[in-house]
Amino acid sequence: MKRSKLRNAEELFFRGVMIISTSVIGFALFLILWSIIKRGLPALSWEMLTQTPKGGFYFGKEGGIANAIVGSLYLASGATLLAMIIGIPVSLYMNVNLHKRKKLVNSIRFLLDVMWGIPSIVYGAFGFTFMIYFGMQSSLLAGIITVTLFIIPIMIRSIDEVLVSVPNGLMEASYSLGSTRSETSYKVFFRQCISGVTTAVLLSFGRAIGDAASVLFTTGYTDHMPTSLSQPTATLPLAIFFQMSSPIAEVKERAYASALILTLIILFISIVSRIISSKYQKNKIKL
């Protein structure tokens, strides 16, 4: 009797610990969002969203961070587009053409997983040496290339995760109807995983827009609206970072507001990808 009581006490204790740890995670997210919203909302204004920094912006005078918002959107869209052009064919190739060569595909996955783990600052340093080698200035293009390298493993692995679940019979059926491998890839497999591709694209976009360390060296910073690929461009994470390190209270307030804008963009992306993945789930063929 006594032993079983002890056992029950042990079980109860650890269940309590588990519930506490799970709530800690939920509470941490709540705390982050709440502190950003509480600090950011009062400082947020229409001016911030639509104007570029005027003279004296960094001393708390008028102006906004429109240049950083637009710059970040350009950078993330460009990088995501490039990563898509490379990532979709690679993941289709891995799952259709290399279907029989499990060992090779598994080692490719392994390498991509390791690449995913490389810190973004290392990609930034790599992009920087690359830039110097070619004699380029820090520019939007250099940033796009660096961020593309950074998000390619994420893109390929997330599309790959979806493609793996496509049933084998579908490929056999497609072959037996006389279609070639690329037809099977682009007309059957691709359609099957459009929702997965969309989620992967949104995930990569979120990573690209939020990363600061890789653009720090390569994209530079400027107060002007980005107009060309060969000019330095402001980005939102760096705008937050620079304003945050200012000792002036008004500038710090704006940093909170900028952080709120970035958070809202990320939340928006996350919600859209959730809606898309649940909406397309029912069109999939399951065997």
């Binding site: 029950n8 042990e10 588990m18 740890s21 800690v24 950003i36 783990g117 937050i240 945050m244 959730r274």
Partner: protein, 254 residues
């Protein structure tokens, strides 16, 4: 101007202007922050992963799934802002007085807490995968023999998942090691060998990010910083490689 390898790694002397580039304080700071983050995040992740895979009802999963996703998607600079607004004052007002010390709050401790929250979703996702990969028959058989749920977890699940748990922590460690902006914002950035969690530190990624501006104007400075990036890359790849290897093997045998 060539410098021997061990000099760079183990020298404490960091004076770029006269050509002394000792990376030792930065490496030690990095280790402090990373290990502290893992000590905080590890148990939380482990217990939550067990809870979410073994006990949790569907409504808990429905809440926690988006929570983990959003936490994983938040940019590091947001964690940095949160660290400056909440964690730094908390450390300076509540944690430091507990140990009878006074700090500004910009310490290794703040860096560790911020990093811990950042790696939680990452480690948690891997742990959930690991626990899910363990065949259910194994736990069901033990349950049918009259064992309680917790006994099954302690004696079967943990033992089976042990290599997976260790490698999930390894991956979390390497993720934390390379994190830049968030740590840079809260850790203080003082070139010192830290002797405790309540002292400021200066981790490797922060060093690279802070000094890229002047690195082309001082001779050999750029090489020293690129070497720092190289050290970072090697350590991270090593950790990743070993941990991924273990996880891949584990999924294959089950």
């Amino acid at each position: 101007m060539d410098q021997p390898f061990f000099n760079l790694i183990f020298s404490k002397d960091w004076r770029p202007l006269s050509g002394h580039f000792g990376l030792f304080p930065f490496i030690i700071s990095s280790l402090w922050v990373t290990i502290l983050a893992l000590i905080i995040a590890g148990p939380i992740c482990l217990f939550s992963a067990i809870h979410l895979t073994q006990y949790a009802k569907t409504y808990v999963l429905k809440i926690m799934h988006p929570v983990i996703d959003i936490l994983a998607g938040l940019p590091s600079v947001i964690f940095g802002v949160w660290g400056v607004v909440i964690v730094v004052p908390f450390v300076s007002e509540h944690i430091a007085p507990l140990f009878g010390k006074q700090t500004s709050g910009y310490t290794i401790m703040s860096g560790g807490i911020v990093l811990a929250i950042m790696i939680i979703p990452f480690v948690l996702n891997i742990l959930i995968e690991v626990f899910k990969s363990i065949p259910e028959e194994l736990t069901e058989v033990t349950l049918s023999l009259g064992a309680t749920r917790w006994m099954v977890i302690k004696n079967i699940l943990m033992r089976k998942a042990y290599p997976g748990i260790v490698s999930a922590f390894g991956l979390g460690l390497s993720r934390a090691f390379g994190e830049t902006i968030a740590v840079l914002m809260v850790v203080g950035n003082v070139t010192l060998i830290p002797h405790g969690a309540l002292q400021p530190g200066y981790p490797l990624p922060a060093l690279i990010a802070n000094n890229y501006g002047e690195m082309l104007s001082i001779p050999m400075y750029d090489s020293a910083l690129m070497f720092a990036a190289f050290v970072l890359l090697i350590i991270v790849i090593l950790f990743n490689f070993i941990s991924r290897m273990v996880i891949h093997r584990m999924f294959k045998t089950m």
